[in-house]
Structures are given as C-alpha cells and as structure tokens.
C-alpha cells in the first residue's frame, strides 16, 4: 500500500478521534481523579451491543437505541462503583478488570441475544445477515451530499471523510467542555481525591459522590466511543472488546502526558500513527519477513518505541516532569 493513501489515513484519523473520546473517559477517571479502571472497554461494549440489539431485534430508532446504550453503560458503572468506591482504589481496579471480562464473555456466550462469536451479524441466526448501521450510513450519506455541493471539498468527500468530521467535531467539543470542567473547582476536587481522598474528606468533601460522578462521566464517554466505533466498522464481535483496548487508552494517556487534557487527542493521534504507520515498514530488512510475521513485528516495534519514549521523556509529550517526581 502506498504511504500517501488518503482513504487509509482518513480511516486512521477517524479511529484516532474515536480513541480520543474513549481515552478522555479514562483521563477523567484515572489521570484526573486517580480511579484505576482496567475495564473501560466494557462501557464501549455495552453501549454498542445494547444499540445493536435494539436496532436489530426491535427495530428501535437509532437515536433512541444509542441513548439506551449509553444508559446501560452508566448503569454498569454504578454497578461496579457503588460497592467498590467506598473501599480502597485497588478494589475498583479488581472490579473493573473482572467486569470488563464478564461483559465480553457474556457477549460471547449469550448467543441467542448477542450473536455469539459471530457478533452483530449473527444476531438474527445463521440464515439471515443482521445489520444495525443503515440509519447511520444514511446520515453520513447526507453529509457527503452536502460536502459534494461544495466544489473545494467535492474531491475528498467520502463516507469516512464525513465520519471524520462528525467524530472530530464531537471530540473537540467534548474536549473543550471537559477542559472547562477540569479547570473549575470540580476539577480541583477530583485532583484532590487522586492525591489523598482522606484529606479531601477531612475538609468536608463528599468523596464517594465525587468518585461516582467521575466514574459515570467516564462510562458515558466510553459508551459514546463504543457507539462511534460500532458505526464506523459496521459490525461488532466480542473480540473487538479485548482488554487490550483499555490498555491502548492507557498508552494514549502515557504518550500524551498523564495530567494534561489536551494531551489526550495528541496521544491518540500519535498512537494511531505508531500503530498504523508501522504497517509501512515493508522495507529491507523487514521485508525479509512475510506480511503475517511483520504484523507481529509491528507490535514489537510499537512496544520498543514506547520504551524509548518513556526512557527519554517519561512525562509524555505534554506532561510535567517535576510533577511526576513529587512524592
């Protein structure tokens, strides 16, 4: 594949935008408030599956199905948070690791409801291909039509380009709103909880309520990114919700610099670049491997690059090194 392949990079940028929203949820929970969530992908899975099931099985209108998806993600975050947030942070970590895997295994094994390993496409049984994407694609087509009306944009107008606009508009609006919140007293309260929740409680802050707020907010963002990803790909399977994806979001936070909200989109773009860009490493001597082996080599290279970056710049691109060293 040519390295200057516009459709390919458009696709990469869409995914980076979706990852921005996904990682923003984790930014709020972990980088801001110090809640270790290792099952973030479960929120994406629940929102996407709920949406798909409602659209495919009961022909629910897409906006309604999407809202229901977000609601289920929020309910799940409450289910994980209410019993574990009163305890030490470790317990939330355990609950979310387990919760994330439970969701994936349910999707895999409740074949009648979820389509099992086949995913959304098998939701109506083996004889009929199920799909949930028609209304979303119609929406994107309308955007493409509008773009085609503009001579300057006509040449680039495509489904993925329309998606790019939708995703990044959403991502930037969310970033801006959350930035306002993070720099407000609410954000200060969240950072205080990250630093020492007993200290925050001792000066009259309701720590449990605050932690629940940020957990739910993160779940909403995780759910939203799950919906967008499901619409972008057009089919969902349990394999799309491996724990690895949660760790990609952590990578994005680490790459960008943990404590800066504007580092999240930067980290997402960098991650997309590292992850997809290594696809073009088909030059000698790497070309000695066949493409299947090179796929694994890619992961090794991504890991190596991360190690180098951490050695050279442990605070990430925009992070603050002094802050990192404080005890």
């Amino acid at each position: 594949m040519d390295i200057f392949n516009l459709p390919f990079w458009t696709f990469v940028a869409v995914i980076a935008g979706i990852y921005t929203i996904f990682a923003l949820g984790l930014y709020l929970q972990y980088a801001l408030a110090g809640l270790p969530n290792f099952g973030h992908i479960a929120f994406a899975a629940l929102a996407a599956y709920t949406m798909a099931i409602l659209v495919i099985r009961v022909a629910a209108p897409l906006p309604l199905a999407a809202l229901a998806g977000l609601l289920v993600a929020v309910l799940f975050s409450l289910l994980l948070g209410i019993p574990s947030l009163r305890l030490r942070a470790d317990y939330l970590a355990i609950a979310t690791v387990a919760g994330g895997e439970i969701v994936r295994y349910l999707a895999l094994n409740m074949q009648g409801l979820t389509g099992g390993p086949l995913g959304s496409i098998g939701m109506l049984g083996p004889s009929k291909l199920a799909q949930y994407n028609a209304p979303w694609d119609a929406f994107l087509r309308r955007i493409v039509e509008v773009l085609k009306g503009n001579p300057a944009l006509a040449s680039v107008a495509s489904r993925d380009f329309a998606m790019l606009l939708v995703v990044w508009t959403l991502a930037l609006v969310l970033l801006f709103l959350l930035w306002l919140m993070v720099r407000s007293p609410w954000g200060r309260l969240m950072r205080a909880i990250r630093e020492d929740e007993a200290a925050a409680a001792a000066v009259g802050k309701n720590v449990f309520r605050a932690k629940l707020q940020v957990l739910v907010l993160g779940a909403l963002l995780g759910g939203l990114s799950g919906l967008l990803l499901a619409w972008q790909i057009g089919i969902i399977t349990p394999d799309d919700y491996q724990p690895t994806f949660t760790f990609y979001a952590y990578l994005i936070l680490i790459l960008g610099g943990m404590t800066r909200i504007w580092a999240v989109p930067l980290g997402a773009l960098l991650f997309g670049l590292l992850y997809s860009g290594t696809r073009f490493l088909n030059v000698y001597p790497l070309s000695l491997f066949d493409s299947g082996d090179r796929a694994y080599l890619r992961l090794i290279l991504v890991g190596l690059l991360l190690i180098v970056l951490m050695a050279v710049r442990p605070q990430g691109l925009l992070g603050n090194r002094r802050e990192l060293l404080l005890q």
Binding site: A199, V203, E323
Partner: protein, 267 residues
C-alpha cells in the same frame, strides 16, 4: 464549668482485632476551650481523633458534637458541621500547589458540583475570588505565602504541618482537632503556631482539641488536659493538677528521671 459541652465523648470503645485501642473513654470539651490530649505512645489518642472525626466508628458508646449525635457519620459530614481535623502524618496534596491545597478547603463553592462550570461560570469565579483571598490571608498567617504557587510536594515536613493547619482553618471550623501540630516544626515557627492557636480561639472562639507530645507547649496553652493510657482516660483537669497527678506521672512519664523534668515544666 457549667456551659454545655461542645464535644461529648461517652463510654466509647474501639478494638482492632484483639487490641483494645480505646476502652470506655469519656470526656467533654467545653466551647471556646483549648484542651490538651496527652498520653504515652499507643495510648489511643489518634484512634480517639479518628473516632471523633468520623474516620472510624466506635463499637460502643456515643459521640455528640454540639448536641448532634455524630458517631457513625462520615468525615465530610462532620467537617461540614464545623468539626475539622488535621493528621499526625500530614496529608497534603503533593501534586497540587500550596494555594490549591488551601482553596480546596474553601466552603460552599457551587463550582464543585458536576458540570457547574458549564452553566454558572460567573458565580463560580466570584466565589473563587473570595476563596483565594481567604487562602492568601491564611497563608500569610502561617508564613507560606511565598510558596503559594509551589507544589505542596516540595514542602518540608514542618511546612506540611503548617499547610494542614491552614487548610483546616479554611473551612472556618467551630472546632479543630490538631494531631501533633508541632511535631517536626522548627522551634520558632512552633511558637508562632502556638500563638496562632491562641489567637484563633481569641478572635473566632474556635474550640481546640490538641494532641501534642511537647509538654511545655501543652501545659502552656491548654485550659484543661485529658490524659489517656492504654485506651482509657486516666485523668482530666487543669494543667497544674495534671502535673501533680501521681497516676499520670507513673503512667505517662514513667521513669523518675522524666518525672523530674515534669516538675520543671509548665506554668
């Protein structure tokens, strides 16, 4: 003293496994007083603080603050009711600035509600200005104003103690529990801290319960002294009485050599 107690601890018990940390302890603190809580290491003083401030629940007994039965209430509810504590090992928010540490403790900031920043930015900004002014004033008082924009994690142990003291005052409490406020604070600064404590009571009528190992300081500032040993309150009274109390000298001061020092300390 005839005034009704502000804080009333009644037959409180707390055990950790087989260890009885607090055993049937009772005492009262009158409003506007400075009360010293002393006792040897392991006497149960800090556990008593944890019980009063809601960080622990007593197994038996009751605690009332201003007539409100408050045992079993969460720490933030007590803080909001005007009962605020500091910690023996200071809990400063290290990756936040000194000023932010103080401003966190500002009360009634509507901007702490979820999403409030999006629909009432002006109201929040106004309140922030007040809170910042209050914080800066207090920082001057505890002489940390020059470090306002430094990370709290860069402060020394003694400075952290001061910051915690200042942060507690940010909530404008009716009563403060100070857990060894002078430990690790330089002598001159410790003297100033004592003055602040006295001034706090004089100007705002704040009630103070203080754990402190510096006998001279405790005897100098306290109106009353409560002595704990092995989880129980073994004596209570005026500083002069406590210094003469044989049981206290035996339990707390132990060897004749230290008891000798006790005669020379205090008023």
């Amino acid at each position: 003293m005839t005034a009704p107690a502000l804080l009333s601890v009644h037959e409180v018990c707390k055990r950790f496994g087989g260890v009885v940390a607090v055993n049937d302890a009772s005492f009262d603190v009158t409003p506007g007083s400075i009360t010293g809580l002393i006792g040897p290491n392991g006497a149960g003083k800090t556990t008593m603080f944890n019980l009063i401030s809601g960080f622990l629940r007593p197994e038996r007994g009751t605690i009332a603050f201003g007539g409100w039965r408050c045992d079993g209430q969460p720490p933030h509810a007590l803080a909001n009711a005007g009962l605020v504590r500091t910690f023996q090992i200071p809990r400063v928010l290290t990756r936040m600035t000194v000023l932010e540490n103080m401003m966190l403790a500002g009360t009634a900031q509507p901007g702490e509600a979820l999403g409030a920043a999006l629909y009432m930015p002006r109201r929040i900004a106004r309140k922030e200005r007040d809170v910042r002014a209050q914080a800066q004033e207090l920082l001057q008082l505890i002489r940390l104003d020059r470090l306002a924009n430094d990370y709290a994690g860069t402060l020394s142990g003694g400075q952290r103690k001061l910051l915690e003291f200042g942060r507690a005052l940010m909530t404008r409490p009716r009563m403060v529990l100070l857990d060894e406020p002078m430990a690790g604070v330089a002598p001159t600064l410790a003297l100033q801290l004592l003055e602040h404590i006295l001034e706090l009571r004089a100007t705002r009528g704040t009630t103070i319960l203080v754990i402190e190992h510096d006998m001279e300081a405790v005897m100098a500032i306290s109106d009353r002294v409560i002595v704990m040993d092995e989880g129980a309150v073994i004596a209570e009274g005026l500083p002069a009485e406590i210094q003469q109390n044989e049981r206290v000298i035996e339990a707390y001061l132990g060897s004749p050599q230290v008891a000798g020092t006790a005669e020379t300390v205090g008023a």
